[in-house]
């Protein structure tokens, strides 16, 4: 046995990679290169040796700041490129390697250029807007004036250069031309015209009304075009207004109010010819400005698009550099200040590679001194590292969601790959639904390369991440569906003809008296004739219930066996003798025996009542079994099993803590003869290293005993409750098949009964929606959750500690994910 297990091929996924604690001593001149090479390899997890220092007290803080500044610029560019609507090219130009310093200079230049262009175009845009507004005011206000023409009032034009706060030469000159000493101020009825945001009109009017105590007339008309805000580049709806009032005081107030509301006032000549002249002047200026603006935008776009070619490359570079400096910040200077000392974890298989990379770094940076790389002992437990592929990754995620495996502990993901989809399928057995799921999974897998680059929504991302889980789940549910003979709850005669037939040709008593069996059993799965018969539910329930118990007992036994392999691996014979053996005996003497009875009952076709057998095995084990006897010698066997189970409980409860106590005392006595002082010396030599973490082993007997007691009680009670918990397989499977029957019979068949195309169509639609949303989505989710629970609780609590921590290497390949 021992030999056989020893000879088994190594299972990568079963146990974490062998990790080792390593120390680097890197000369300062080659440090950057070495770390960035290590980042490319991506198999070293550095320990932060400066944890007590705040970020800006670290050595490379300036470089980190520079990188942060550069990434800020890059974000700015990206934002600008995005706003300008330029698509970044699919495959960016391959450039020779760029150096950070060069990029930094380029970035500064580009930013300068871009901000200048932006401010230019903003200025232009502003004056353009003003002209546009003026044009609108001229158009709209003109119509106000002419509608009021028949009133013989000498209107006075109001100039408002103070309210017109912008100081651009071209527009200002435009205004000056308007300042002719034209109309007289005889009547005292003045007006101010201007333009204001639509949202503010109401409150603006109210304010004007209050300020002038109602002595004013307010005309407004919506402008026919929106105006683009130069800062946010959003379109703003504006309204042209014209206020008539009288008096100098009122004018001052109105002007102030206009100013306060950000309303731009523009003068409108009351003479129609002048107005025309103004309009044409404004229009010509507008078209000029438009041309300049367009040219500016073209220029800017071309600059941006040339920039966008480099953008991904630069972003990548900056991100890498920042990561390198962040890592360098985790290293310590040694006493001479000429070397950096780093510590970290790496898998043993990567040591050669790391060594080679470090040599290359020394060589490339022309360093006189090589990099020292050696392994050290660590008290801390190493991180857990499994090498994944895209298939196993999702299953490992399912396990990690519960807890990351302790270092070198048996990894349940190995079994989860198969058992998880299988238990799911037991609850979701329907090959029609299975095919739907399969199609979905295949679509996801077929578009894998396309989807993996894209940013998906949270729901899609979850689906996509679990595509291989989905694939196996669907395959298994097709398999289970074939066994249950369910296809959207319709039975099929796939594997031959049914074993049953009616008693006579009319088949009138099929429902009451039942069918008769006339040939060999249906070769695979459930006979289709069960469907719709009176005894369908009792038959299927009994089948599924027993099956659930068989599956559950098998999986729990697997869990306990894994605890044996764990104990063997960690060479703890104590756990094997006082935990594994009694647990095995306890579970199998009760529920293993039940499984045996089930199998025997299936094989022999006996009528024995298993409830009765199990219950009276405890209540009166010596009584005669009577008609419930399944095999010879059942009663003595039951008594034996019961005794074994009773013995197993104290067996797993008492010996272990006492033996631990004895061992501890022995070790403590032995220590007086042991090697002295070695650990203490090390601690003094390197106070910062991981070895300094003192390992205190205080033995507290009462704590250990209580712990053991909790575990034993949990196992004993758990054996019962976990077995019962596996009955959810039956319950969910029942619920699924009943639901799909309801939708099929009460919706689809009912609608089909009518001879009306519309009702049939509606029925079909309802059936399709119910199938898609309730059966395919909700039921998948619930079956998934229950399968998850069976794995996390019922299976993993037998052996899995899950208190390790994940190996998080410093790797450039992993960088992209967490930044965006």
């Amino acid at each position: 046995m021992e030999e056989f297990i020893g000879k088994l091929p190594a299972m990568d996924l079963m146990r974490s990679e062998q990790m080792t604690f390593v120390q680097f001593i890197i000369p300062v001149e080659s440090a950057h290169r070495a770390v960035s090479y290590l980042g490319e390899v991506g198999l070293v997890q550095f320990r932060d040796l400066n944890a007590e220092k705040s970020p800006f007290q670290r050595t490379f803080v300036n470089q980190v700041k520079r990188c942060a500044e550069m990434s800020r610029k890059l974000r700015f560019f990206k934002d600008q490129v995005g706003k300008a609507g330029i698509k970044s090219p699919e495959n960016p130009v391959v450039q020779p390697d760029v150096v950070l310093e060069e990029v930094e200079i380029q970035l500064v230049e580009h930013e300068h250029e871009l901000t200048e262009m932006n401010s230019n175009s903003e200025r232009l845009r502003q004056s353009y807007n003003e002209l546009l507004e003026y044009k609108m005011v001229l158009q709209e206000a003109g119509s106000f004036l002419f509608s009021g023409k028949n009133h013989p009032v000498a209107e006075e034009r109001e100039l408002d250069e103070t309210a017109y706060s912008n100081d651009y030469v071209e527009t200002a000159s435009l205004l000056e031309k308007e300042m002719r000493p034209g109309a007289s101020e005889q009547s005292g009825l003045n007006y101010v015209s201007g333009i204001i945001c639509q949202t503010k009109v109401l409150i603006f009017e109210r304010m004007l009304f209050r300020a002038t105590r109602g002595n004013m007339l307010f005309n407004q008309a919506p402008a026919n075009e929106g105006i683009m805000d130069p800062v946010t580049s959003e379109m703003v709806e504006k309204v042209v207004f014209m206020v008539y009032f009288s008096g100098e005081q009122a004018r001052k107030k109105i002007r102030k109010i206009c100013e306060a509301f950000g309303a731009n006032c523009y003068p409108v000549p009351d003479d129609i010819t002048k107005q025309r002249q103004m309009t044409s002047e404004v229009l010509s200026r507008l078209s000029e400005l438009e041309a300049t603006l367009d040219a500016g935008i073209r220029h800017r776009n071309s600059a941006l698009s040339s920039m966008s070619l480099h953008l991904p490359k630069w972003t990548n570079l900056v991100r890498r550099e920042k990561a390198v400096y962040d890592t360098l910040n985790m290293l310590n200077f040694d006493v001479t200040k000429k070397c950096l000392v780093g510590e970290g974890w790496c898998p043993i298989f990567a040591k050669a590679k790391i060594q080679e990379v470090l040599q290359r770094a020394t060589y490339d940076s022309n360093s006189q001194v090589g990099i020292i790389f050696h392994t050290m002992d660590a008290v801390e437990s190493p991180p857990t590292f499994f090498r994944m592929n895209k298939f196993t990754n999702a299953y490992q995620e399912i396990v990690d969601a519960y807890g990351v495996a302790r270092y070198q502990e048996a990894n349940p993901a190995v079994y989860t790959v198969v058992t998880f989809p299988f238990l799911f399928a037991v609850m979701f057995g329907d090959w029609g639904h299975g095919i739907c799921l399969l199609l979905g999974a295949l679509v996801l897998i077929a578009r894998e390369s396309k989807l993996s680059n894209k940013k998906l929504g949270s729901f899609m991302e979850m689906l996509f991440g679990g595509r291989y889980v989905l694939l196996l789940m669907s395959l298994f549910s097709i398999y289970c569906g074939l066994i249950y003979n369910e296809f959207f709850s319709v039975p099929f005669h796939i594997f031959g003809r049914s074993a049953y037939k009616c008693r006579d040709t009319t088949c009138s008593d099929a429902r009451s008296a039942g069918l008769i069996k006339y040939r060999d059993p249906y070769p695979f799965g459930v006979d289709p004739s069960w469907r719709g018969s009176r005894s369908e539910l009792p038959f299927l329930n009994s089948l599924k219930m027993k099956m659930s118990i068989l599956l559950g007992v098998t999986q729990m036994n697997l869990g306990i066996i894994l605890s044996y392999f764990n104990a063997r691996y960690f060479e703890s014979s104590l756990d094997i003798r006082y935990q594994f053996v009694p647990q095995m005996i306890f579970l199998n003497s009760l529920f293993g025996y039940l499984s045996l009875l089930i199998v025997i009952k299936w094989c022999t076709g006996s009528q024995a009542d298993l409830y009765h057998v199990m219950i009276y095995m405890f209540l009166s084990p010596t009584d005669d079994l009577g008609e419930n006897q399944l095999f010879w010698g059942q009663r003595p066997l039951q008594i034996l099993l019961l005794l074994l189970a009773l013995i197993a409980v104290p067996w797993m409860l008492f010996p272990k803590p006492f033996i631990l106590k004895r061992l501890h005392i022995e070790r403590f006595q032995g220590r007086t003869y042991g090697v002295l002082g070695i650990s203490e010396m090390d601690v003094e030599a390197e106070p910062d290293s991981a070895r300094a973490l003192q390992h205190h082993e205080d033995f507290n007997f009462s704590e250990v005993f209580v712990h053991q007691m909790i575990h034993s009680i949990e196992f004993v009670l758990g054996a019962v409750s976990n077995t019962a918990s596996y009955l959810r397989l039956w319950a969910l499977s029942l619920a699924h098949s009943e639901l799909s029957t309801v939708f099929y019979e009460k919706v689809l068949l009912l609608a089909w009964g009518y001879d009306n195309a519309i009702i049939r169509l509606v029925g079909l639609a309802v059936f399709a929606f119910a199938t898609a949303f309730i059966l395919l989505m909700m039921e998948t989710l619930s079956a998934f959750l229950h399968a998850l629970r069976l794995h996390w609780v019922e299976f993993q609590n037998k052996f899995y500690h899950g208190d390790g921590y994940k190996f998080k290497p410093f790797s450039f390949a992993l960088l992209n994910d967490d930044d965006e």
Partner: protein
């Protein structure tokens, strides 16, 4: 909400209380302040803050940073959080949240009116206003010439309108009566807020009455100290004190006749809760009084989080965040002006 708020509070207030407690967890701690105080440049401060909740607000600021930018962005975060909570709030919480901003509104009104009096640019003044105390027609304040106009033109639309009934005069505005206006408004506001909280009842009333009383008493002390040596008469001074709080009514009478800081001290030391504040100060000193009051306030605000099912946490959170922004402003100023020795002078640690 009559003693049984635990039964029903979570129906409307549970979500937001959770949110505000989450926000509270992101307040800077003493360790953060210690790190911030060690910063050499404003960039260091930015770098440290980028690891906190302020990160997203500061990350896109170009490097030569100014104190004003830091404060502006930090305030922006507070305002965003406030607006988010206000959007989610139902009555009466939404009214309660609005009450919190009225103080800023009063300050903004006073700022603009004073500014226009000294012929400052309105736009420039608007930038200085606290964003929480903004209202639609705030810029129009510049139009008003006297109190009556101020009220009739602008403030009648704002929630401050009822508070104005006491100070409508036709006098032209000047520094003195603006200051009196501010204090009258504040008095009316605090009393109104106090009444509102009493109306809410339950733990809210209990906790808020403590916090607001403290606020009222602090204002009373400040008014007294600031009005020593001015032409404000004793009766006028007394009119500015809010009509609730620990000092009301006997303390107010004594404060009204105080002629110097030591007399104020004498009055205040009769009240045990304030004894500890004044015992920290040496005689004749009023510089550190502000800090002492702030420290006491922060202590009380933090205690508001100890109890559940009341609205006081919202008030407390907003105040704590404002204190944090004041701290950040002080630290940044000290760092920017190379006055690092004074950095601890006015920083009030929250946790």
């Amino acid at each position: 909400m009559y003693g049984f708020e635990a039964l029903t509070f979570n129906i409307h207030g549970g979500f937001l209380e959770a949110i505000v407690r989450g926000h509270r967890a992101s307040l800077l701690t003493a360790a953060d302040y210690n790190n911030l105080c060690q910063c050499e440049t404003l960039d260091d401060i930015k770098m440290h803050l980028s690891a906190t909740e302020y990160g997203p607000y500061l990350q896109n600021e170009p490097s030569p940073l100014h104190t004003t930018t830091i404060v502006e962005k930090c305030t922006l975060k507070l305002v965003d959080e406030y607006k988010q909570m206000l959007c989610q709030a139902t009555e009466p919480l939404s009214t309660f949240l609005e009450y919190i901003t009225y103080g800023h509104m009063i300050d903004n009104v006073v700022l603009i009116v004073t500014g226009t009096l000294h012929e400052r640019d309105v736009q420039e003044l608007l930038e200085k206003c606290h964003p929480l105390g903004m209202f639609d027609s705030i810029a129009t304040l510049a139009v008003a010439q006297n109190m009556r106009e101020l009220y009739r033109l602008v403030l009648v639309d704002t929630p401050l309108a009822p508070y104005f009934s006491e100070c409508i005069t036709s006098e032209d505005l000047d520094d003195m009566n603006i200051e009196i206006m501010r204090n009258t408004l504040y008095k009316a506001y605090l009393e109104d807020f106090y009444r509102f909280c009493q109306k809410l009842g339950g733990a809210t009333a209990e906790i808020m009455s403590d916090l607001l009383s403290f606020e009222a008493d602090r204002r009373a002390v400040n008014i007294t100290i600031n009005s020593i040596g001015t032409e404000l008469t004793r009766d006028d001074r007394k009119k500015l004190y809010s009509n609730f709080g620990l000092l009301y009514p006997y303390g107010h009478e004594e404060l009204a006749v105080c002629e110097d800081i030591d007399q104020v001290r004498g009055v205040m030391e009769k009240y045990p809760p304030y004894q500890s504040i004044f015992s920290k100060l040496s005689y004749g000193e009023s510089q550190m009084l502000d800090k002492a009051f702030y420290e006491e306030e922060v202590k009380r605000l933090c205690l508001a989080f100890e109890q559940q099912f009341h609205y006081g946490v919202f008030f407390a959170y907003m105040r704590l965040r404002e204190q944090e922004i004041r701290n950040l402003m002080w630290i940044s100023e000290c760092v920017a002006q190379n006055q690092k020795s004074r950095v601890h002078d006015s920083v009030v640690f929250i946790f």
